[in-house]
C-alpha cells in the first residue's frame, strides 16, 4: 500500500484517506467534557454533602443563588453532552444495520436534548424565582 504513495508528502498521504472528517472533534470533546464533568461533579457532590437538608424549600433556596444556578447549568451541559458523545460511540460500535444505527443516534439526540432542556429550564425557573 505504501508503495503507491512513496513520493507523496505526509499531508498528501493523509488527505482523502478514511472518513474521519469530524471524528477528532468528537474524540476531543469527549475529553473536554470529561474534565468539565470532573470539576463540576466534584463541586456538586461537595455541595450536596454540605446542604443541611434535601427538602423542597432547602433545595429551592440553594438553586436560586446565581453562584449555584450557573455551575448547575454548566453541569447539565457538560454531562448531557458527554453522555451523548459516549452513547453514540457505543451505538456505532454495536449497531451495524445502517437504518437502525441512524434511528438509534436520532433517538439518542432527541432524548439528550429533551431531558437536557427540561433540566436547564427547571434550573432557570427556580433561579428566576417561579
Amino acid at each position: 500500500m505504501a508503495g503507491n504513495f512513496d513520493s507523496a508528502s505526509g499531508l498528501k498521504r493523509v488527505r482523502g484517506l478514511g472518513s474521519a472528517k469530524s471524528g477528532v472533534h468528537h474524540w476531543w470533546m469527549q475529553r473536554v467534557t470529561a474534565v468539565g464533568n470532573f470539576a463540576l461533579m466534584a463541586w456538586f457532590i461537595v455541595s450536596i454533602l454540605l446542604l443541611p437538608t434535601m427538602d423542597h424549600s432547602g433545595v429551592i433556596a440553594w438553586i436560586s443563588q446565581p453562584l449555584v444556578a450557573v455551575p448547575l447549568m454548566l453541569l447539565v451541559l457538560s454531562t448531557f453532552w458527554h453522555a451523548r458523545l459516549g452513547v453514540q460511540v457505543m451505538i456505532e460500535d454495536y449497531v451495524h444495520a445502517e437504518g437502525l444505527k441512524l434511528l438509534s443516534v436520532l433517538a439518542l439526540n432527541f432524548f439528550i436534548l429533551g431531558t437536557g432542556a427540561v433540566a436547564l429550564f427547571s434550573i432557570a425557573r427556580i433561579a428566576f424565582g417561579a
Partner: protein, 112 residues
C-alpha cells in the same frame, strides 16, 4: 478488558438512568412542593435507596475508569503489569469513594 466493559456499562447507566433522575429531581423542585414530595417519596423508598447506592457506585466506577482513560491518553500506563494494577485500583477506588460518600451524607456535619 473488564475496566473497559465496566466503563461502557456504567457510562450508559449514567446516561439513561442518572441523567433522567437528575432531570426529574430538578423538574420536581421547579414544579411544586407536591411534585417534589412525590420525588422524595420515591427517592426515599427501599427501591429508591437501592437505586441511589447502585447509581453512586456506578458513578464512582465511571469516574475512576475515566481518570484511567485520561492518564492512558497521555501515553502512560500501557505496561501490562501497571495496566492490570490501575484496573484493580479503579474497582477498589470506586467502592471506597461510594462508602466515603454515604458515610459523609448520612453522618456528616451538613445534615446533623
Amino acid at each position: 478488558m473488564a475496566t473497559s466493559i465496566a466503563h461502557r456499562v456504567t457510562g450508559n447507566a449514567l446516561a439513561f438512568g442518572g441523567l433522567t433522575l437528575f432531570a426529574w429531581w430538578l423538574a420536581a423542585a421547579a414544579t411544586s412542593a407536591e411534585a417534589y414530595e412525590t420525588f422524595l417519596a420515591v427517592a426515599g423508598s427501599l427501591i429508591g435507596w437501592i437505586v441511589w447506592i447502585g447509581l453512586s457506585l456506578v458513578f464512582f466506577q465511571h469516574l475512576m475508569s475515566g481518570l484511567r482513560h485520561l492518564l492512558m491518553d497521555t501515553g502512560w500506563g500501557y505496561d501490562l503489569g501497571l495496566s492490570k494494577m490501575t484496573a484493580g485500583w479503579t474497582f477498589l477506588g470506586s467502592i471506597a469513594l461510594t462508602a466515603a460518600f454515604w458515610a459523609l451524607y448520612l453522618f456528616g456535619t451538613g445534615r446533623l
